[in-house]
Amino acid sequence: MSLLEIKNLTVEFRTANGPFRAVDSVDMTVTAGELVAIVGESGSGKSVSMLAMMGLLPWTANITADKMEFDGKDLLRMSPKERRKIIGKDVSMIFQEPMSSLNPCYTVGFQIKEVLRQHTDLTRAERQARAVELMEQVGIPDPAKRLNVFPHQLSGGMSQRVMIAMALACKPKLLIADEPTTALDVTIQAQILDLLIDLQKTEGMALILITHDMGVVAETVERVNVQYAGQRVEQQEVNALFSNPHHPYTAALLAALPERATGRHLPTIPGVVPGQFDRPQGCLFSPRCEFADDHCRTKPPVAAGPELGKALCHRPLQQGVPQDQKEVSA
């Protein structure tokens, strides 16, 4: 049975300039203990889709889905109070900016133990012991003493370790790591990533790794969801994705990887992810796609079958060659 199942998730923000669709019919399935990645450029709706699942979006967000289940529980029909019993306990999340994600007014120890106080019956002494254990587990030296420091006394890497400790406190079944290394020094990035993957194995929890960096995905994850402009454009097992991407956007992301660059210059994808005011008519990727034709520019594509990575494309790639499926989807 799958741990997390999302079908047709759509998030629309009410803005001063009318509604803006940040997440558009996204599907996602995660089984227990699995490591899945969501990859896409900044602005692709990766964070928003996961925040919607956690119930952390502001009230301006209008969330709809055909199905959103975690561990057999229906998140759509759950009261906020019931959901608060799950988040922070069975599913937890860490964020891109570890330094600003910790409250400057409270000690690290307080912020870790607070989770335990909320979700467990541990006594004060047991919470203290568990907090020390967690700090050790995430590789913070001198844990008992570090519990008494305030966040501003920690580096970015240390702050992210504290965030991870907090997220792990109640042994969650699923951890969502939203670009956990993006704000950190390059040398620290690998350490934090290794720590997360290590913990995923030892704790036997599922991990959703959100990243804009295909390179991070390569050696680590099992399955990849590629997201673009709020839509999931492809989903494949990682090796297949790297050897035979089916969506032109995936192919372009892979081509932009430094180790795949052939010339002296790194190929980049020209243009940016469309925002509220420049959403194209047909395929959302068409203004940037090298295979785009008139059909692409006018008609939104339909997802292909699983054999083509469910690619959301009129002309999914097969070994780099577009396969016209106009007739099929028309």
Partner: protein, 335 residues
């Protein structure tokens, strides 16, 4: 911490001297002759007048008068009231508890109502409660105290007869002042009904005096909360599954408190100014009423001494507020 304290104390010195000058000049710039006012209806003979001028030192040049005053201040002597002949300091501290009691009740009311109201408004931004509160705050802030007090008296004292109109306690009760705080003294006296009487006398003046601070605190809390609610650590707190009360009332509020505490510190001046009016309207025997009476009597020593003491209290409160910052947000303690 200690050096911070010393530096702050040093900045007191010029402020303190400034206040001595201003308070000294303020009362002398008002037209009216204190000796004639003192003499009252009967008037005073020319000879006696000259004698009194000399006795009070008004024959000296003004800078000499100031230096004499300053010399006294340095020794802790603020002179004696022309009218009662008692030392200004003694009178001040005899009346100050009444003002303090009223001010403390008012600021507590303003904080206890204003902060939660501001938090709730911010969390429900744009909804009915928010709009109602902001409108109410605007009205409260701009309403003339005098008019507001009279309105309350007309409705609750004259109309409904719920509260007394003036004074600190009913004439039925009489007991020694132990602390000068009527709420405490009335309890200590053990007399039945004394405490209730003291409370009923306090209610209207407290509401009147608290209105402006309440409006200011509620608005400041709301805007500080609105800023903080978008912060990443608030999202973290929500992601932990904490209740809205903990997320908003603990994680967010603690961070929003700095600007709120700042305005509360600044409100002490507003409060004392408001106390002057409030005490006058409700015949509350505190320093506000005392100052007003003394200004009308041109009681130079009382006015200049009283102003100096009030200014000193405001300065001490502001220092306390600065020290509070470090306690609220440890990040500031470092700097």
């Amino acid at each position: 911490m200690l050096s911070f304290l010393l530096r702050r104390l040093l900045t007191f010195v010029p402020t303190f001297f400034g206040v001595t000058v201003v308070s000294f000049l303020f009362i002398r710039l008002l037209p009216g002759d204190p000796i004639l006012l003192l003499a009252g209806e009967r008037g005073v003979g020319e000879e006696r007048y000259a004698e009194l001028i000399k006795q009070f030192g008004f024959d000296q040049p003004i800078w000499k008068q100031y230096l004499d005053y300053l010399w006294g201040v340095m020794q802790g002597d603020l002179g004696n009231s022309f009218v009662t002949k008692k030392p200004v300091v003694t009178e001040f501290f005899a009346l100050f508890p009444a003002t303090l009691e009223l001010s403390i009740c008012a600021i507590i009311l303003a904080i206890v109502v204003g902060i939660p109201a501001g938090v709730i408004a911010a969390v429900n931004r744009g909804k009915f409660f928010d709009q109602a509160l902001m409108t109410g705050a605007l009205i409260g802030y701009s309403m003339p105290i005098f008019w507001w007090a009279l309105l309350l008296i007309i409705v609750f004292s004259s109309g409904l007869g719920w509260t007394p109109v003036s004074g600190r306690i009913s004439f039925l009760y009489f007991f020694d002042e132990a602390t000068g705080f009527m709420l405490i003294d009335s309890l200590l006296s053990g007399q039945k009904g004394a405490f209730a009487s003291a409370v009923s006398h306090l209610i209207l003046p407290t509401i009147v005096l608290a209105t402006i601070p309440l409006a200011v605190i509620a608005r400041q809390t709301r805007s500080a909360m609105l800023e903080v609610l978008g912060e990443d650590y608030v999202r973290t707190a929500k992601a932990k599954g904490l209740s809205p009360l903990r997320v908003n009332g603990q994680h967010a509020l603690r961070n929003a408190l700095i600007p709120v505490v700042t305005v509360i510190g600044l409100l002490v001046g507003t409060l004392l100014a408001g106390a002057i009016l409030t005490e006058t309207i409700f015949s509350w025997p505190g320093i506000g009423k005392w100052m007003v009476d003394s200004i009308f009597r041109r009681d130079y020593q009382v006015v200049q001494g009283g102003l100096l003491l009030i200014a000193s209290i405001i300065m001490i409160v502001n220092l306390t507020v600065d020290l509070l910052y470090g306690w609220i947000n440890p990040k500031i303690r470092k700097g």
